[in-house]
């Protein structure tokens, strides 16, 4: 009797346990039907097709200059010019491969105090056919300006290049060096303002940008060649980076201009001149297009070739500028930095 009761009790216990577990499982299964995890959000802004950029065509080659006569091109490094030899390599290569001489002028040999730096530059120019100035950090003296002017008048070719002048302070991280004078020892880029204004050209302040159509960055803007002069031949689309606009006088010819761009200092949109020519002088408000990484982008190669050809296609009178063109300078005495003329 007691044994039967025990068996009955165990059977009831088993049934109760089974019912409880089954009902729990069934409830869980039913509840799990309600979604507790949502699907991942759809972000159409992340569609790969619209995000990935198209690189600018980088298949150009800077052709060698084709001139019968060998010329000498002097590139100024004596005014703290913030441009390295490497940064101009494609143009230098184009000149050298055609047999032209390229010299980097880094200052006069005469170290005596009071010696005129302009006379050493001018004597260097006497044996040169073209003169290139890029981003000078220090001023050109009146004597040097006179010398370059008479050099150009005599048929010598002059190329002025400049980037925007950086602001003195860069967000509190700049370091003041009171002893750094204007001897050209710093590599901060400046603009050859005094030199350019003699030819009716001024470099602008601020950089050009284009928020809409650009070479994958707002500061890399497109410029197009203007007219059918020798400098703009084959130049449909230039890529210039951190470029500054040029203001030119009436007798200057626009070589390249950037349409639909804005100037950082005014935020005004418009068409800005980035390259111009006045007689034997050409000016470009950018140096980046000369660098090995940029010279093969879009039509930059054609523009670099055109500029190289421009430099060596002048017919300069031998001996200009004459020695006394720099002697009339009014107190423009500078201490020339040590250095000499070196081949590349």
């Amino acid at each position: 009797m007691a044994r039967t009761d025990l068996l009955k009790g165990l059977a009831v216990f088993a049934v109760v346990v089974a019912v409880v577990l089954a009902s729990t499982a069934a409830t869980g299964a039913l509840l799990s039907g309600s979604p507790s995890n949502s699907s991942a959000p759809n972000v159409s802004a992340y569609d790969t097709d619209t995000l990935l950029t198209t690189p600018v065509a980088d298949d150009g080659t800077v052709d060698a200059v084709d001139q019968a006569e060998s010329k000498t091109v002097v590139i100024d490094l004596s005014h703290g010019n913030a441009v390295s030899k490497d940064a101009m390599q494609p143009m230098v290569d184009a000149l050298v491969s055609d047999g032209h001489q390229v010299r980097f002028y880094s200052g006069g040999d005469d170290q005596s105090f009071g010696a005129s730096g302009s006379s050493t530059l001018n004597s260097t120019l006497q044996s040169a056919d073209a003169f290139v100035v890029a981003n000078p950090a220090s001023s050109y003296t009146a004597g040097e300006i006179n010398g370059v002017e008479s050099f150009a008048e005599a048929g010598g070719r002059v190329l002025l290049l400049a980037d925007p002048v950086p602001k003195a302070s860069t967000g509190g991280s700049s370091i003041e060096i009171p002893l750094a004078g204007s001897s050209g020892s710093t590599s901060s880029p400046g603009q050859p303002t005094n030199l350019a204004t003699e030819f009716g050209i001024t470099f602008g302040s601020g950089y050009l940008y284009d928020m809409d159509e650009n070479a994958n960055n707002y500061q890399s803007v497109y410029a197009g060649g203007v007219g059918n002069g020798s400098l703009s031949t084959g130049v449909d689309r230039l890529v210039v980076r951190d470029a500054t606009p040029l203001q030119t006088s009436a007798n200057a010819t626009t070589v390249a201009q950037a349409e639909g761009t804005s100037l950082s200092s005014t935020r005004r949109a418009g068409t800005y001149t980035v390259a111009a020519r006045v007689g034997n002088l050409a000016a470009v408000g950018d140096t980046s297009f000369l660098s090995p990484a940029s010279a093969t982008l879009a039509d930059n190669d054609a523009f670099v070739s055109n500029l190289a050809t421009f430099l060596v296609s002048g017919e300069k009178e031998p001996g200009a500028p004459n020695a006394d063109s720099g002697a009339t300078q009014p107190g423009g005495i500078t201490q020339p930095p040590s250095g000499n003329v070196t081949a590349p």
Partner: protein, 298 residues
């Protein structure tokens, strides 16, 4: 006497009293539940902080809190308490996606309690409403990157030209442009109905005051965090609610001075790094280009 008293108890219904006492005890035990059912809050609004520079740690904390909010049935709405100038690009994108996913399930309202710039604004953009105060700063939509190092150091051997630098400068610029498109596109997608700015204008990266932000459609309302919490509760249909706050992790001393090796985006490896950040960029190393400049108009 005994038989009489027993009879009295029987007459009064002894079992009834016993059951009555037991019922009182059980009922008293259930009083809090009954009280809460009638008088307690309808649900909880989770206030999730996005404070400080957005990096792997702060983003993970906020993303985990949002996942918890989605899984916890008592949480009916989320308020983002945003006071951040942004941080790394990847962490900012992760936060954006987490907010977007949370918004699919419950109301999300952002309250700018100081600054919602760059990645901080990216985080706020998908919210149902963005509350600002006039002195708040919002915007700075854009991307910054360090310049790739030029050459592999002499004391290292690498298997390829980009192993150390990770990319050429031109490629890094393209990637910045790609991240900008994603950022601007996402903001445009979230707020296209309200925005008075074009994509180009957004891309300038300006910082606006709270008042300007409302005017331009970058934010919705001028109001404090309590207004934002009320709004979120109202959107969730809660007339009576409680709030719970999830704080951002405070930065460790090590990471503040840039020595936290566990921080994935920390300055332990020299390479290109991408940020959605406003203000001073302190990345250390040679990539932090401190330049000596002066005016050189000659």
């Amino acid at each position: 006497m005994k038989p009489e008293s027993r009879g009295l108890l029987d007459r009064l219904g002894g079992p009834v009293i016993v059951f009555g006492v037991v019922g009182l005890v059980v009922g008293a035990a259930l009083v809090p539940y009954a009280w809460n059912t009638t008088r307690g809050p309808d649900g909880t609004v989770a206030v999730i902080e996005v404070h400080g520079t957005i990096n792997g740690d702060t983003a993970t904390a906020a993303i985990d809190a949002m996942r918890e909010a989605r899984q916890n049935e008592s949480i009916e709405a989320v308020v983002l308490d945003v006071n951040s100038r942004g941080g790394t690009a990847s962490a900012s994108e992760q936060l954006y996606l987490a907010v977007k996913e949370t918004k699919q399930e419950m109301p999300v309202v952002a309250s700018v309690t100081g600054l919602a710039a760059s990645g901080g604004y990216y985080t706020s953009a998908p919210a149902d409403a963005i509350y600002v105060a006039p002195a708040n700063a919002i915007g700075s939509i854009g991307v910054r990157a360090t310049v790739p190092p030029q050459d592999t150091p002499d004391n290292q051997i690498t298997s390829g030209p980009d192993k150390y630098s990770t990319a050429t400068e031109s490629e890094a610029r393209q990637r910045v442009e790609t991240l900008r498109r994603a950022f601007v596109g996402a903001v445009y997608e979230e707020r296209s109905d309200e925005l008075e700015l074009s994509r180009e204008e957004l891309s300038h990266g300006k910082v606006y005051s709270g008042s300007e932000g409302v005017e331009l459609g970058l934010a919705d309302e001028v109001g404090g965090i309590d207004a934002a919490i009320d709004d979120a509760a109202g959107r969730a249909g809660l007339s009576d609610y409680e709030t719970t706050r999830v704080e951002s992790p405070s930065p460790s001393t090590l990471s503040q001075i840039g020595l936290n090796a566990s921080e994935s985006d920390g300055p332990t490896v020299e390479s290109v790094r991408y940020f959605m950040i406003h203000g001073q960029l302190n990345v250390g190393g040679s990539a932090d280009r401190t330049e000596v400049t002066r005016n050189g108009t000659n």
